[in-house]
């Protein structure tokens, strides 16, 4: 078996809305290595949050398998399943919504400790809660532990959320847009803290974001997977993705992002999409779902055949793209209608 700590095999997920079925994830294959930095990047509706929820067991896939440390999660029962749920935790996006306003920080941290029988009594729970708060940099502990969430700032709340994810000594943490609601000036300190947890606590971090610049910072030594409409369209080492994007969608994203550098951002080459509208998930175009917008659309190929993730033709690099012209070694030619 591979050295993957968690692995998606042909994961599909669809949600039912009335009589229609909305395909949110299609054929996701992804192996996360132990202690790897992995980022899932994409725009809203691309399925990145759903992937995260499936990863931690909050949602069941419609089909496909998830392997945790080599074991198929759907076959786990009883204490085995609890062990898996304990080992993978999630930090939600909104620290204002994810902490119960009627519970103190101590309550919030002690519930999972008691639930999973990680402590025997209140004194132990308080001590462990204190340790966790120290780990996430909320010191002095006595100033925080008996407060309610509304008495803390957004950044502090997000730290509490991280401390809560750590209560069960997880091996994998999924951080879903964990800093997008935190002020710019303190984002980096929270990101750095999460990156340090990998070293000090041996936690594998999966970071979900729409912000490619943050993804780049977080996963510089790892990989980025770019998602579009429920599929992974490009995956590879971060420097390759951010500096030499291959897939037309990744290329357009990178060219469109404004940068905090006036001279550079105003002289960037802009890629003009053929359409600015994202297709609905219920009316996905045939073939490659990016083809109606793609500036390098090849009629008769892209709208007929579904691209699979594969290396770019003639390249020995580790990057994989789901783009037929690229994987078949055809040059990208601007499409003229």
């Amino acid at each position: 078996m591979s050295d993957a700590i968690i692995e998606f095999k042909q994961i599909y997920k669809s949600f039912k809305k009335g009589r229609t079925s909305i395909p949110v994830l299609q054929d996701i294959n992804l192996a996360v290595k132990k202690l790897e930095y992995l980022c899932l990047v994409g725009e809203s509706g691309c399925g990145k949050t759903t992937s995260g929820k499936i990863l931690v067991g909050l949602l069941k896939p419609s089909s496909g398998q998830i392997f945790f440390e080599g074991q198929d999660v759907s076959t786990l029962r009883g204490s085995e399943y609890t062990r898996y749920r304990r080992a993978v935790q999630i930090i939600h996006q909104d620290p204002y919504a994810s902490l119960n306003p009627t519970h103190t920080i101590y309550d919030i941290l002690s519930f999972p400790l008691f639930r999973h029988k990680l402590v025997k009594n209140r004194a132990q729970a308080r001590e462990r809660a204190g340790q966790l708060l120290e780990t996430v940099g909320l010191t002095p502990v006595r100033d925080v532990i008996d407060k309610y969430p509304h008495q803390l700032s957004g950044g502090q709340r997000q730290r509490v959320s991280i401390a809560r994810a750590l209560t069960t000594n997880p091996k994998v943490i999924v951080a879903d847009e964990s800093v997008s609601m935190v002020d710019v000036s303190i984002r980096i300190s929270i990101l750095n803290m999460m990156m340090n947890m990998r070293e000090s606590l041996g936690v594998t971090m999966i970071f979900i974001t729409h912000d490619l610049a943050l993804a780049k910072y977080f996963a510089w030594q790892g990989r980025i997977a770019v998602m579009y409409l429920g599929r992974i369209v490009e995956i590879g080492p971060t420097p390759d993705i951010t500096h030499f994007p291959q897939h037309p969608y990744t290329k357009s994203l990178l060219s469109a992002i404004p940068e905090p550098d006036p001279d550079r951002t105003r002289t960037k080459d802009q890629i003009r999409l053929r359409s600015e509208d994202i297709p609905r998930l219920t009316e996905l175009p045939p073939g490659c779902s990016f083809h109606p917008r793609c500036p390098w659309f090849v009629p008769g190929l892209c709208d007929k055949q579904l691209p699979q993730l594969a290396p770019v033709a003639d390249s020995k690099g580790p990057v994989q793209v789901a783009c037929l012209p690229m994987t078949q070694g055809k040059p990208l030619i601007p499409y003229e209608s």
Binding site: I188, I257, E259, P260
Partner: protein, 337 residues
């Protein structure tokens, strides 16, 4: 420089709450010139929205303007906005100064066609000639790159988020205002949609010649769109200058701190650092310079004496006692890789 449209002079606003007064905006002064775009950047609670709301008398009832004036000039006539009668203010809004609120895509009436909503607005401001309104509406919708006839006959739910935002921009400038205030204009939008909005805004501004005040915490957006940038901290304007000044030669430690905390996509591994600490309590703000508890260059003086917001080079203002230290530290900011 071209003529001044809006001259904000020493404006202070407080919110009365049970614990006392929240000093949301203190001694704000700046001039807005014809056709320029000025970005107000700062974190949540820095007072950027509060100041802007005061221009159109839309502050919540707990707010009180405690001083200052805002002079508005159109066709050579100058008036103080704070002394407007209610009738004059009603006329001023939208006609002279339009504001597009954050997440306002949801502001459309869901049961009225877009056409009705444009006509409604025009009627409320005394434009009775339907034909003329429709003609202008079609022009504006074309300008924001929408299919004018189709959009006009659509209901809001038939438009995507990006299309709604563009329709809203068109509606904002329907009555030919001189000043358009945009509160986080692209925050809720996807990257590719965001790019389209930026392009549209630039084009609209160059064609119609209005001035823009845009409020954002997104430095990249300011780098992309602004002619001048003002940094706000704890209710005060701490730095104001051209976009080049603020990004490449910042004089205030807070501006520098912000720039040091955002990752840049096109660079290799960034050296980033957060600003230490948390934003201050505005009911009981720190003495002296409000930034001193978080400032890496703070000295005894900063704690005692409030720095003056003064012009350090033509057009570049900052409120800091020790700008020379910032100048020294900023040398590392734009090391080329």
């Amino acid at each position: 420089m071209s003529e001044v449209v809006l001259s904000v002079q020493d404006v202070s606003i407080v919110y009365r709450v049970s614990r006392g007064q929240v000093k949301a905006s203190q001694h704000i002064s700046f001039d807005l010139h014809k056709g320029e775009s000025l970005a107000l950047i700062g974190e949540s609670g820095s007072g950027k929205t509060t100041v802007s709301l005061s221009f159109i008398d839309m502050l919540p009832s707990a707010a009180k303007i405690t001083g200052g004036k805002v002079l508005y000039t159109r066709d050579g006539k100058t008036e103080n906005i704070f002394e407007f009668s209610e009738a004059r203010m009603r006329d001023f809004r939208w006609h002279d100064c339009a504001m597009v609120f954050q997440g306002a895509q949801n502001a459309f009436n869901p049961v009225l066609k877009i056409k009705e909503q444009f006509l409604d607005t025009a009627r409320a401001h005394g434009w009775r000639d339907k034909g003329k309104v429709i003609k202008r509406t079609l022009e504006l919708l074309r300008l924001v790159r929408l299919d004018p006839e189709r959009t006009l006959e659509s209901f809001p739910h038939e438009l995507s988020g990006g299309m709604k935002q563009r329709t809203l921009l068109a509606l904002g400038v329907l009555l030919d205002p001189q000043v358009v205030i945009l509160d986080e204009p692209t925050t809720a939008l996807d990257i590719l949609t965001q790019r389209a909005i930026i392009e549209v805004l630039k084009e609209m501004q160059s064609r119609l010649g209005f001035s823009i005040i845009f409020i954002s915490h997104d430095l990249a957006l300011a780098a992309e769109m602004a002619d001048r940038v003002a940094t706000m901290y704890a209710g005060e304007m701490v730095e104001l200058g051209s976009t080049q000044h603020i990004f490449y030669e910042p004089l205030h430690p807070y501006s520098l701190g912000l720039l040091q905390s955002v990752p840049r996509l096109s660079q290799d591994k960034d050296e980033l650092s957060s600003i230490k600490g948390n934003p201050p309590d505005l009911i009981d703000p720190p003495s002296g310079c409000k930034f001193h508890p978080r400032c890496p260059f703070a000295q005894e003086l900063c704690n005692q004496e409030e720095p003056v917001f003064k012009e350090h080079e033509p057009g570049h203002f900052a409120a800091c006692h020790f700008t020379e230290n910032v100048i020294e530290a900023r040398a590392n900011l734009w090391k080329k890789d």
